[in-house]
Subunit: 392 residues, 2 copies
């Protein structure tokens, strides 16, 4: 039996690969990646704060640490022939599709990057879905990490699953519509459409993990050998809000909260994200389109800024919080209510990351890489905002 | 001033180009096409029943008929540079985006055709949208013919516009979710997502015409010179239900109704489709995402079969109606209720096509091409169904 992990070189993909190998010692854990994330981050002029090693070095270290059941194949999922070859060779019982160009600002650099992002993400998923159909692998469980960003900012409570609608006295159940705020996020709405269709037409078992903002530097499996570390992005394009704030604080750069910072956003710690992905790989095919909101709960942006300030003070690091005009399409005072009880009950019964502990761990484990953060501190905010931030 | 028409070589695109040229004599009407539709139909082994001429011959005939303001540029909309060149040259005040691979069964021949269809359709739209943004053409009105197929078959009345949702006492308005039943139709759901986003982020004025099944052979402008005729597809892949039934009847091939034929589907005559597209080109930018259900109303599939039988009898042609197992994901007894009053009031105040008149005109105008229909009658139904049809 085999489990396929796409995006296995990524921030979540690499620790997921390691944990899967430990949890399923009798199965082959097959990672694929085209190393595009390394190139994108290089392209926008930044690096991973925590040094990451070549895949060859990573795999050597994994073998030494007892992960003997990992295979890795380099390839591009937009190449249909590559996907077919993987399926024909391994016939996976589970596909964990984590690969994507995941940056909203990167996807909106220009139209070329926007169409590239949607092409890259949607064609990869489409090739993976059709490949299952064409290789008689409809019993395979297909898990994708989409994003809580598909929901946009509705004025009603966000369901964990389908949406009930009533019009003129007639009722029905529909999928949540694509209301994402960026061309990247919208690529995941397109994916959700295709996942729904693959389930409706072929009865493919689909688990759609709507992944929240994922923060943190490490998991149980990435520690002990520096070659096992996962990447940590802190730039404007690829650094998600919590990770970027932690990096800014350590570099003595003000934390740049957009607007009033009153927004609460769904979050999840890296360890919890990985644990719940592993849980999803334990599920039997059920011919359903199962949607989970992969978040342990919402956290306020201002709260994160203040939390980092508090922890910074404990560590002897002064942290300044600045407010910048919000460049995104967001309702400033929007109160997001997102249901996540199915996710917590079924996929994350034992969460381990609390936001303050997570922030503390992030700041502490990042401290050795302060020189890197300082060297790239012009990458924290986009060029047009740099002159509006007062660097201490 | 200029109006851009994509898919200008197509079934609706060509008559729309001609009518626009007449309605807007002081504007330049710019058609673009890559002639892909001609290749797709050739690829599946069929032809247009009504012969269509080369674009050069079409344009010569159009000039002779007084259409002096038409320009045509051959090119592929998935090629970003081509789109940019068109925008830089013509700076259109309206874009009428009619180009797409529009066949559901063609999109599901295999995974390669599925991903090709979505790539072709979504990247074209994305290039057209971003091109407007990047050429400072946000005042341009962007009109796309999507499809009523984006709605799927909900158990509630289909709105003409946004959907009101209430959950736990909180209310909101969302776009209708992508619930399409094929990979082609889903490509239009992806497009709807991107249209909504372009409007939300940039305030682009978008008119989303959810085009119903369009039937008929001709419009006011395509008659009088055979070089001005528009294409007429009657094969399983590209012939829509009404047109294919008319062709089958004339070829002495039974009309193949899927299932009980109880389904009602939204329809529109070709002349009405073209007239409403011309109406949309008269609208001022309003910074809205305006959705119209481009249908003059629902018609039962069984009703069409019987209508053709009746007209056939008048014309001395015996017509047989057969029932085949439905190969599509459809609820057999589904009663579709689709609102269309905004469309009728604002874009089609003077409809000219009634279903029985439309069927009669289609049968009469197709009769001279009976030899072509006979030569390709093995293309009416897919290979796997051919042996289950009793040919009279």
């Amino acid at each position: 039996m085999a489990i396929l992990v796409t995006g296995a070189d990524g921030y979540i993909g690499w620790p997921a690969l390691l944990k899967l190998s430990r949890e399923f010692p009798d199965e082959r854990i097959v990672g694929v990646d085209n190393f595009a994330r390394r190139r994108w981050v290089e392209e926008i002029g930044c690096v991973s704060a925590i040094p990451i090693h070549s895949m060859q070095e990573r795999l050597e270290a994994a073998r030494e640490a007892g992960h003997g059941n990992i295979s890795f194949i380099e390839g591009d999922l937009t190449d249909r022939a590559f996907v077919q070859q993987i399926y024909a060779t391994f016939r996976p019982r589970v596909v964990l599709h984590l690969a994507a160009q995941p940056s909203a600002p990167y996807s909106e650099i220009n139209g070329e990057r926007a169409t590239y992002t949607q092409h890259n993400n949607v064609q990869s998923t489409s090739n993976l879905l059709w490949g299952l159909k064409e290789h008689n692998l409809i019993e395979t469980v297909f898990v994708e990490t989409t994003t809580t960003g598909v929901y946009g900012q509705p004025d009603f409570d966000i369901p964990e699953g389908f949406l009930e609608v009533e019009r003129n006295g007639r009722k029905g159940s529909v999928i949540y519509p694509g209301m994402a705020g960026s061309w990247y996020h919208m690529s995941k709405c397109h994916d959700v459409n295709n996942l729904w269709l693959a389930n409706a037409k072929w009865k493919l078992s689909v688990i759609d993990l709507r992944t929240a903002i994922t923060y943190g530097t490490r998991t149980d499996e990435t520690q002990g050998d520096p070659r096992l570390a996962t990447r940590f992005d802190f730039d404007f394009y690829f650094g998600v809000v919590v990770n970027r704030f932690a990096a800014q604080a350590l570099a003595g750069f003000p934390i740049t909260v957009y607007g009033k910072g009153g927004l609460k956003r769904p979050m999840i710690g890296l360890q919890d994200a990985v644990d719940s992905i592993v849980s999803s790989a334990k599920r039997e095919p059920n011919q359903k389109f199962d949607i989970f909101n992969q978040t342990s709960g919402p956290v306020g942006i201002q709260e994160i800024g203040e939390g980092i300030q508090t922890i910074g003070a404990e560590m002897g690091i002064p942290v300044q919080v600045d407010h910048l005009e919000n460049p995104r399409v967001e309702k400033e005072e929007h109160q997001m209510v997102m249901e996540n009880s199915r996710f917590m009950n079924e996929l994350l019964p034992h969460p381990t990351v609390d936001i303050m502990d997570g922030l503390r761990d992030t700041l502490e484990s990042l401290q050795p890489y302060r020189d890197t953060l300082l060297a790239y501190k012009d990458r924290f905010v986009p060029e047009q905002l740099l002159n509006r931030v007062s660097v201490a």
